[in-house]
Amino acid sequence: MGHFSRAPAGRQGGRLRHAPLTARLVALLVALPLVALGHAHLLATSPAASASLIAAPRSVTLSFNESVRLAVLKLESATDEVPLPVDRNAAPAKTVTVALPALKPGAYEVRWSAITVDDGHIVTGRFGFEWHLAPTTPP
């Protein structure tokens, strides 16, 4: 199963952080509204981003630096979308876990969005994982 790890945190920040100052200013001028930096940060996920598992995960867990309400959680494979129940009336929490149905082996992408309760800031992101059957070893 996947372990908690530092996640790529979707689209929150990152890409602008290591650019030279001039390039960052130009990027801000040209593409101001294009990257959601937000307040809440995704700290970790389970399964971890890019994890390669040998058993199907039974749930997806997202851990944030502050309490959020999960708005959307979508799980997609190369061929279809797996419907996931999201309780939008749940109390705000730093950690959100959603149970998964039995997944077929393959690569999956998780797409999520959440909202902070006090100021309504929206954060979004996505990460992938895959699971495959462990190779059987000869006796």
Binding site: R11, G13, R15, L16, L21, R24, L25, A27, L28, L29, A31, L32, P33, L34, V35, A36, L37, G38, H39, H41, R69, A71, V72, K74, R88, R111, S113, A114, I115, T116, V117, D118, D119, G120, H121, I122, T124
Partner: protein, 291 residues
């Protein structure tokens, strides 16, 4: 750099909500303090403009929730998902939207009658402009003072920016005698108003940043710097209007009316740019200390 069109739409809709709401509040305030100086047709044009902005502020403000729903969903399907609308409304934005709606209806209703906007209309203007202080970064600070200061800042912005289109409407006929009295009164009031809005804005910023270095070391700070640059341009236009063009208008110089129209047009463009920048750094980023 990946493009999230719904994030861009959220910034645009937020900027339009600022523009309509602050424009309606400021135009009704302008009517209140310059009523006796205006020709009847100018009063009518400004009343209609302010009422139209009031209705637009309500509609676009509600649309913000829909855009937030679509942003969360990652697709246009969110626009028709009531539970996502409800989630967006429960975040604090709903309360601000409710206050803004009531205030703008009050303001617009008061402007239907051909009379100087009274206490009810001005209360609506103050409530509508201040509704933006009900949510946002200031509520993450330990004190309630920044929210109060933001309210003062917003009232100042409304008074300043909301007077620009009314002045342009009066100046459209090119008659110095018509525009000079309200322009002079606006210039007199603008000094304390702009002083208060800048002072309040600086104090709000100081409460959100841990050090001035965050102005250039964070995305939030750099967007604020861009906004301050545009504000400097706006101040330069305002100084030109007050110190050069208004005295010429008072002296009956017809060419000054055209120069005033150009200057106010530039101010409007700068003001819209400032509102877009503000929408960007309030919607997409946050002060580093609050991250």
């Amino acid at each position: 750099m990946s493009v999230d069109p719904w994030a861009a739409a959220a910034v645009l809709v937020t900027a339009l909500t600022y523009a309509a709401t602050l424009g309606a509040a400021g135009a009704s305030g302008f009517l209140a303090y310059s009523w006796g100086l205006l020709a009847p047709e100018d009063r009518r044009a400004i009343r209609r403009w302010a009422a139209l902005l009031g209705v637009a502020g309500c509609v676009i403000g509600a649309l913000r929730l829909g855009v937030a729903a679509a942003w969360m969903d990652g697709s246009g399907a969110g626009l028709t998902d009531p539970s996502l609308w409800r989630l967006a409304a429960q975040s604090g934005e709903g309360a601000a939207l409710g206050l803004r709606g009531v205030a703008l209806v009050l303001l617009s209703a008061a402007l239907l009658r051909d009379r100087r906007p009274g206490a009810l209309a001005l209360l609506g203007a103050a409530g509508a402009a201040g509704s933006f202080a009900l949510t946002g970064h200031v509520h993450r600070t330990a004190s309630a003072l920044p929210a109060g200061l933001l309210w003062v800042h917003l009232l100042g912005v409304a008074c300043w920016v909301g007077a620009l289109v009314p002045l342009l409407l009066i100046a459209r006929r090119g008659e110095p005698a018509r525009i000079a009295p309200p322009a002079r009164r606006f210039g007199v009031l603008a000094v304390p108003v702009v002083g208060a809005l800048i002072a309040a804005g600086v104090l709000v910023l100081a409460s959100l940043l841990e050090s001035p270095a965050e102005l250039w070391s964070s995305d939030y700070g750099r967007l604020v710097l861009l906004k301050l640059g545009a504000v400097a341009g706006l101040l330069a236009c305002a100084a030109l209007n007050k110190l050069s063009l208004t005295p010429r208008l008072c002296a009956g110089d017809a060419r000054a009316v055209r120069a005033l129209r150009i200057s106010i047009g530039l101010e409007i463009v700068l003001a819209l740019g400032i509102l877009v920048l503000t929408a960007a750094f309030t919607t997409l980023t946050g002060p580093p200390s609050l991250e």
